[in-house]
């Protein structure tokens, strides 16, 4: 498994250098977003060009950063908000993992969204906030301390709300309200935890292995309480049960938004925050010693099973996918909570793997709804006859979700399960197997319906859009389905997400 990149990273001493790249990569999307908002509704062609070029530029910048980081350089940019409190943007290897996922999926989602929203109103508003969202996600990826993380985390909350309620329907507004209640409530707890932590330990940057030390036994309870407060703040976005209820109701949003919410932006930001909290603030050793890891592992396990059971009960396609997200994102928290090199790799690599798999499924759900008017599971019968490519993409992603080789999901499951066994926590295998069976129970019937059941006489509805629009919808789904296979099949090769995650964990657990 030792790729050249991994060797380079361990060989060269990691050095932090002042560098504008982390700021530039955040600003690119912000400027694009503002420009799009200023351009207004009518300048459609210019908007499309701006959208796509911003996404491409950003992807290129992130790749540049990745090359720097692989070479052992950590670009950093910091300035003092007020004396003593720095806003730090820094690209370490974990940042690159999340940033490259965001940048890549943002590009495909932009293509998809342009095609999907052909007949929607207020597209300037939509794409404006869409870009601000990616700004926030980039900021979260590059945040170098908890304060910076918090700032961008809040920006994300606010920038996502207009996307959720975009259609302006009653259901959308209600979902938006639920979303705000949960996320702002979580943020409040996060803020309390943050202030308490700064009062206790002072402002500190994220450091591999954690910056906190247990100074005296008096502080144990406070440190546990702070962890719980911040973990709840993250847990709301990561949809840990019982904080998950906003996610299924946010399904009323347009398909590209759902895809984004579930794969990269909101849910993933929460999960990424949990990773930072455990690995970079407390450190996995301290989290374990304080009993926090076990608590998190139990919460994640419960979420995994609960989400899957509820997914099984849904009859609406997007709802089923939403509960599946609730379940799958907790794999990340579970891996971090188990600790040890293998499980941590499993958790981190699932950040990427769950992203590409779930975004594929939401792309396809959107395609089914737009082109054929199919939203409920029973209506999927024989769908592969009409939309074979989308059905194939969906099936690949679903098999990956179940964790079957050679898809990406298998690699995550392998590392999580074997890592848990290696840490002596064999009970986790039971959770993973239960999740596998439940996933099979709610995804295989969909695949079987699409491919093997007879098609209806005629499809209930849907538009007949132009060829270009159909291509714009299907190509992103095929691209991410291709990534789902590639990340699994090529897991052992250099620069695969797995290879990168292994390199990260080498830094954390030398």
């Amino acid at each position: 498994m030792t790729g050249t990149m991994t060797d380079a990273m361990t060989a060269a001493a990691v050095e932090t250098t002042l560098h504008p790249l982390p700021v530039v990569v955040v600003l690119v999307s912000l400027l694009a977003g503002l420009a799009i908002a200023v351009l207004g509704e009518q300048r459609q062609r210019l908007r499309t060009v701006l959208n796509l070029s911003a996404a491409v530029v950003k992807l290129a910048l992130v790749l540049w950063i990745a090359l720097l980081v692989a070479g052992g350089v950590v670009p950093e940019f910091r300035f003092a908000l007020v004396p003593g409190f720095d806003l730090v943007l820094r690209a370490d290897s974990l940042s690159v993992l999340f940033a490259s996922l965001s940048a890549a999926l943002w590009l495909v989602t932009t293509v998809y969204a342009i095609a999907y929203l052909q007949h929607y109103a207020n597209r300037a508003r939509f794409f404006g906030y869409f870009s601000i969202c990616v700004t926030a996600t980039m900021g979260i990826a590059m945040a170098g301390n908890l304060l910076t993380f918090f700032v961008f985390y809040e920006l994300l909350t606010l920038a996502t709300w207009p996307l959720v309620v975009h259609t302006g329907s009653r259901a959308a507004l209600r979902a938006g309200r639920t979303y705000l209640q949960f996320t702002l409530g979580g943020s409040a707890l996060f803020l309390i935890g943050l202030i308490w932590l700064y009062a206790l330990a002072g402002p500190q940057d994220f450091i591999a292995g954690g910056s906190l030390q247990l100074l005296d036994l008096e502080a144990v309870t406070s440190m546990q309480a702070i962890f719980v407060l911040i973990a709840i703040g993250m847990g709301v976005k990561a949809a840990l049960v019982p904080l998950h209820a906003w996610l299924p109701s946010a399904m009323v949003a347009p398909a590209p938004v759902s895809a984004l919410l579930h794969a990269v932006a909101v849910v993933k930001a929460g999960a990424f925050g949990l990773v930072r909290l455990v690995e970079d603030v407390y450190g996995s050793a301290l989290s374990g010693a304080l009993g926090l890891s076990l608590a998190l592992a139990i919460a994640a396990s419960f979420t995994i099973v609960y989400g899957s059971v509820l997914a099984l009960l849904q009859t609406d396609l997007k709802k089923r996918l939403a509960y599946s997200t609730v379940s799958q994102v907790s794999y990340i928290a579970l891996g971090i909570a188990i600790g040890g090199p293998l499980a941590t790799v499993g958790g981190m690599v699932h950040l990427v793997h769950q992203g590409v798999m779930k975004i594929t499924m939401f792309f396809c759900a959107g395609i089914f709804a737009t082109l054929l008017g199919v939203t409920r599971i029973v209506e999927l019968d024989g769908l592969a006859r009409r939309l074979p490519w989308s059905a194939a993409a969906f099936s690949v992603a679903a098999l990956g979700m179940i964790g079957l080789p050679p898809m990406a999901g298998f690699v995550s499951k392998w590392y999580l399960g074997s890592g848990a066994v290696a840490m002596g926590q064999t009970w986790v295998v039971a959770v993973l197997v239960a999740s596998t069976l439940l996933n099979a129970g709610y995804f295989l019937p969909l695949i079987a319906r699409m491919w093997f059941r007879p098609a209806p006489e005629r499809w209930t509805g849907g538009a007949q859009p132009s060829r270009w629009v159909v291509a714009g919808l299907v190509a992103p789904a095929l691209a991410t389905a291709g990534l789902t296979i590639a990340f699994g099949v090529l897991a052992g090769s250099t620069y695969s997400p797995l290879d990168w995650a292994i390199a990260i964990v080498r830094e954390y657990l030398p």
Partner: protein
């Protein structure tokens, strides 16, 4: 290179088959050739290590796997030829499933690391579903449903075992698992794996998918399911849960008993069946019981490589013979003398008639059992029971003969693939034994040992004619029928079922249904409450107080 070709051909076939037009035709044409490509790595002895692929795939043919490779190449290739000429209907999905199954099987054969084997096994398990449900009839949906449920039950056990192995040794070289150093603390994984793979082999009581799936699948599909794919389970046992030479597997006696139980149960249930292919399916179950007996014997005497070779020979003999018998079902075996002969010879061979390949395989099995039970002091009747399984199989083959003679549709042509596979079944195991130095001379005592069970079977048949057969009838799939009924009470899982299955629900069933429904409803209700932030806050507070109380008390 040879390995890449052997793996790429079936994959290419699978990728091309779903397309219409020229691409689809080419995909299909690859089907009879692709299995033969497996002979290349056998001939070259190539080993490859693809560390970039998945988590590292090491591939190559271990010497003891050679008979399995030979079996797959011959049986699968000839069955594909048969299928090209006979299978109609939704051929695109059929050939996709067919080629994918072959790809998975090839990986299972060539795998030398844990991940490679697991990948192949998963692929072959899922792809087989596509050929089982080919008919798309009610019965086919039902067979597919039962198959998938059992396959995933097995999968749960297998993935648990695989993850435990991986936790200890990573993506381990499978050959290492057979060495004593790798036995530490893995009893649970070993049992999980043995149980999981037993599903594929159809060990009682996990056998119920075979008698449903084999009769409903197209004839050539049944041939490879019964002849080749079930052997993936045996390969799973031997590769992932091999008997180590350090210590005798504690459960070996249990496995031996289970094997004998399966061998006789398969025959008894099969005798009550009235469809030719169902009888053959039960015969496979019975024969896989013998395979389990051989595996148990190997566990009791793990030092001796001859018993491993004996299992390979048994698999080669059974696979070719059963494949030929299944192909016979598509050629109206009762319609001419030649066809009767082509049916009778493999049937006799399966019953281990002297000089047939079954005689050879059975003789080796008996030697293994004899060595395993240490001359018979521990289990005095075991050896005799193993001999009696030949008599039982002979009875079942009589049933096959009777049913086959009713199929006299002269319009059905005699497909050359059937004749060739029969010839292979009668000769290849002997050739293999000759080349690997495991011939058994047909001395008088050897012949007599094989002959008396047959004479016993003849006597039973004659007596049965005099007294009349007992009129017992078991439904296909035996115990699955009451299980399905009770499952229907609780709202069976939502795998696709035929729309026309009528539901008659008595009052008790309605009550059970209502209970299950109310459980789902209350879960949904609780979920609705969680949508209110205040409820969530209260809940968190409650949990916090509870935890704090626990800490304070503790």
């Amino acid at each position: 290179m040879s390995i890449a070709v052997a793996l790429l051909l079936p994959l290419l076939g699978a990728l091309l088959s779903p397309f219409g037009g020229r691409a689809g035709v080419w995909g299909r044409r690859l089907a009879p050739i692709a299995p033969l490509a497996l002979l290349l790595p056998l001939a070259t002895g190539e080993q490859v290590r693809w560390s970039w692929a998945l988590l590292g795939l090491d591939l190559g043919v271990d010497p003891w796997v050679a008979p399995f490779v030979l079996l797959t190449a011959l049986a699968w290739g000839l069955a594909a030829w048969f299928a090209l000429d006979t299978v109609t209907g939704d051929t695109r999905r059929f050939w996709l499933g067919w080629s994918l199954s072959l790809w998975g099987m090839a990986l299972v054969l060539l795998a030398q690391t844990l991940v490679a084997f697991y990948l192949g096994y998963v692929v072959v398990s899922l792809a087989a579903y596509m050929i089982i449900i080919h008919a798309r009839s009610d019965a086919a949906w039902r067979a597919g449903r039962v198959y998938l449920l059992l396959a995933f039950a097995g999968e749960a056990a297998i993935v648990s075992g695989v993850l435990i192995l991986a936790g200890h040794y990573g993506n381990v070289q499978l050959a290492l698992l057979a060495t004593p150093a790798y036995a530490v603390g893995l009893e649970e994984a070993r049992w999980l794996l043995i149980g999981g793979f037993a599903v594929k082999l159809g060990i009682v009581p996990l056998h119920v998918w075979l008698p449903l799936a084999h009769p409903i699948a197209p004839v050539p599909a049944s041939a490879i399911l019964s002849g080749v794919i079930v052997k993936a389970g045996l390969l799973g046992w031997l590769k992932l849960a091999p008997p180590q030479s350090a210590e005798t597997l504690a459960g070996a006696p249990t496995l031996l008993a289970l094997g004998l139980l399966t061998a006789f149960t398969g025959v008894l249930l099969g005798l009550t069946q009235s469809k030719l292919k169902t009888v053959l399916a039960y015969s496979t179950i019975s024969q896989m019981g013998l395979v389990l007996v051989g595996f148990a014997a190997l566990s009791l005497d793990p030092g001796d490589d001859r018993w491993l070779a004996a299992l390979g020979l048994l698999a080669l003999h059974h696979g070719l013979t059963k494949g030929s018998l299944f192909l016979a079902c598509g050629c109206s075996p009762g319609s001419s003398r030649l066809r009767m002969l082509l049916l009778a010879l493999p049937a006799l061979s399966l019953a281990a008639a002297p000089l047939a390949t079954g005689f050879l395989a059975k003789a080796w099995l008996k030697r293994a059992v004899d060595a395993g039970i240490g001359g018979g002091q521990l289990w005095p009747f075991t050896y005799t029971l193993v001999s009696l399984t030949s008599a039982a199989t002979a009875l079942l083959m009589w049933r096959v003969w009777v049913l086959a003679m009713r199929e006299r549709d002269a319009g059905q042509p005699l497909h050359p693939a059937w004749a060739l596979l029969t010839l292979a079944a009668l000769s290849v195991p002997w050739l293999w034994a000759a080349s690997s130095g495991s011939l058994i001379a047909p001395t008088l005592s050897n012949v007599w040992v094989a002959l008396w069970p047959l004479l016993l079977a003849v006597a039973v048949v004659l007596l049965g004619r005099a007294w009349g057969r007992p009129g017992v009838r078991f439904p296909e799939g035996d115990i699955v029928v009451p299980l399905e009924r009770s499952a229907a009470h609780f709202g069976a899982p939502s795998l696709p079922r035929a729309p026309s299955v009528p539901h008659t629900a008595p009052a008790r069933a309605a009550l059970a249904r209502a209970l299950a429904g109310s459980l789902a409803r209350s879960l949904a209700g609780a979920e609705g409450l969680l949508r209110e932030l205040t409820m969530v806050g209260l809940l968190l507070l409650l949990v916090g107080v509870l935890v704090w109380l626990l800490l304070w008390l503790g």
